[in-house]
Symmetry: C2
Subunit: 369 residues, 2 copies
């Protein structure tokens, strides 16, 4: 499959939805991707099955605070510097890239990197959504090493981390991203084709494109925009149940850029007598509580969308007064076992809640599924 | 010349003096050095003239807050990991190491690295004293590149920085050192033999040993300990004038570990009617004011010593009630020109004072010189 301008538009919207509020708003990255495609032609999207077992696959994406990424734009060379360095370290060419996270701008960033570097992008990612920390990948859950990892910035600085401890890598990489101005590009978890095939979350790029296409088509045809998203999720091989958690107006917002993240909480007042919903976030929306009661939490996807246009509002774009629907979707099943939950579940974020699947919390069985 | 146990003892004392309060107290490093010498035998100290023009020389030392280094001890592998990585990157063996700064524990750390790595140490360093930031070297003043630089920690993490901007390197390295727990080892400013010969501050290790030996001998012979230090400085090829700035008791101390440094100020009340001296520090003592009037400032060396034993009290060991003499010594001449002062003078630390040589400020001409 070839990714053209229309696919980029759809991917930008679908990736923003899957970002669970994080991964960065894809606005700039969509423009960058189109500019890049105008030069390079369409980018090839390949399946993991197309990879030779010993192929070299480079997951990549941006690390930092989305609040910073709105103002500090890339100069475009960051992924190239990182990918070249990885080739130099490993002494062999890279065969394909994949987004370390499908969610937000990072779902598109790998397409930009692929176009610039002249390699295909694999229809897969490392998170099935977006998570704030680099060890929160399926590759770490499955025990693969994150290193060598290469962080680069717009000034041409190249930093290579070699560590046997994926958590130490995250700690060091986060500090570096802050010292580089709060946002930086990272190539990490270099994979063989076989490892990508066995462990990556496969099909997430086409799923994101399908979500974007569903919203676009529903807008053209006047259908229900939210039902269009839910349908696309159900038809994908990666996602399943989804539904609206809340409908209301943002009446309070706290957000600060701290420890290299965008952290805060948003309070939404429901229409009628629906009460209030509070959502806490660390780059990504982590947990949603309706009148104090948990109704969705990580790793399930929680996205805040404009209630009229279904535009996805990433955390750094939240504002007082926005009228929104809060939508949740079940995370891919492989993020829900005990090992995965220890790395991406509520406890990994210091929350005391026990993880309960969003479809159970909301009695969606046989409803939206 | 061979560095044996006695040379290590003398070097530890002389390096502590030249540290201007920084570089870390050499207590642990002296023990480590002796343990290492017991295994490896004496370490060879060579002159820059002994280096082949195309030799590879690796300056090394610890980066971080001395307050942290008192509690977080090295495991000994840090310099080896860094030196090996440099050899791997450059594809050739390292011929010798030198201390990036002669001051404090870092004056000895290069000897430990040399013993462990089985190479000689060059009788030279990059600062002629200690400075808190990595761009504050004669190599940066002379326009050499600091990279590739390799930072390593006790957990075996290896981070390589490649940057064309020595100040960006410092900013990134500082963040990494904090993420590694506040102290880390760094190999940086890789030099050819020719570069070491042209730019390093030559003879600083033998000068430090001579200072330590002078104090040791004066203790044995009952001579004036401070005059012994001044004599050793005058006889060296690196240093010149020196003298006592103040004699008193520490009556106030502020110190915090901030931005990866030990930062603060110490207030000393003079005996009799001598008034007060205030010294501000960022790892190193930066400026001394007697009754509000500047009497010494960076790059001149300001060391606080026990007034009875002449033990050097590094900034992290300052305590209320210590009875001390504040001693200053003229920095090597090459740190005093306009280019050097822009990088290591008072303005580089945000101080408004114009740099005036310590011997002028104190009318030492024809006195201590």
């Amino acid at each position: 499959m070839l990714l053209d301008d229309l696919a980029i538009d759809d991917l930008a919207i679908g990736a923003a939805f899957l970002g669970s509020g994080g991964g960065g708003d894809p606005y700039h990255t969509r423009i960058l991707a189109k500019a890049e495609l105008a030069k390079s032609g369409p980018v090839q999207l390949i399946r993991v099955e197309d990879l030779a077992p010993d192929a070299l696959v480079a997951p990549c994406g941006w690390i930092g605070a989305p609040t910073v990424s709105m103002e500090k734009l890339p100069n475009g060379q960051e992924p190239i510097l990182g990918l070249r360095k990885l080739e130099q370290i490993l002494g062999r060419p890279i065969d394909a890239v994949l987004p370390i996270e499908i969610g937000g701008a990072n779902g598109l960033a790998a397409v930009v990197a692929a176009a610039k570097f002249g390699v295909p992008v694999v229809d897969a990612d490392g998170m099935g959504r977006a998570f704030p920390e680099s060890q929160m990948t399926i590759f770490n859950i499955r025990g693969l090493s994150s290193c060598p990892a290469i962080i680069t910035d717009a000034a041409g600085n190249v930093v290579t981390i070699e560590s046997e401890d994926n958590l130490a890598h995250e700690r060091i990489a986060r500090a570096i991203s802050v010292s580089m101005g709060g946002i930086a590009h990272m190539v990490e978890y270099p994979l063989t084709g076989q490892q990508a095939r066995s462990h990556a979350i496969c099909g997430s790029i086409t799923a994101a494109i399908a979500i974007g296409a569903a919203i676009r088509e529903a807008k053209q045809q006047g259908g229900d925009l939210f039902e269009a998203v839910f349908g696309a999720l159900r038809r994908s091989n990666v996602y399943s149940s989804a539904g609206v958690l809340f409908d209301g107006k943002i009446i309070d917002l706290e957000c600060e850029t701290k420890h290299g993240f965008s952290m805060g909480r948003v309070l939404i007042q429901g229409f009628g007598n629906a009460g209030e919903m509070e959502i806490v976030f660390q780059n990504e929306n982590l947990a949603a509580r309706r009148n104090g009661e948990l109704v969705a939490c990580t790793p399930d996807i929680i996205s805040i969308m404009d209630r009229e246009t279904a535009d996805i509002i990433t955390t750094e774009r939240l504002k007082y007064g926005q009228r929104v629907k809060v939508v949740a979707a079940a995370a891919p099943a492989i993020l829900r076992d005990a090992k995965a939950l220890s790395i991406v579940g509520p406890a990994a974020f210091g929350m005391e809640d026990r993880y309960i699947p969003v479809e159970e919390l909301n009695n969606w069985e046989g409803k939206s599924v």
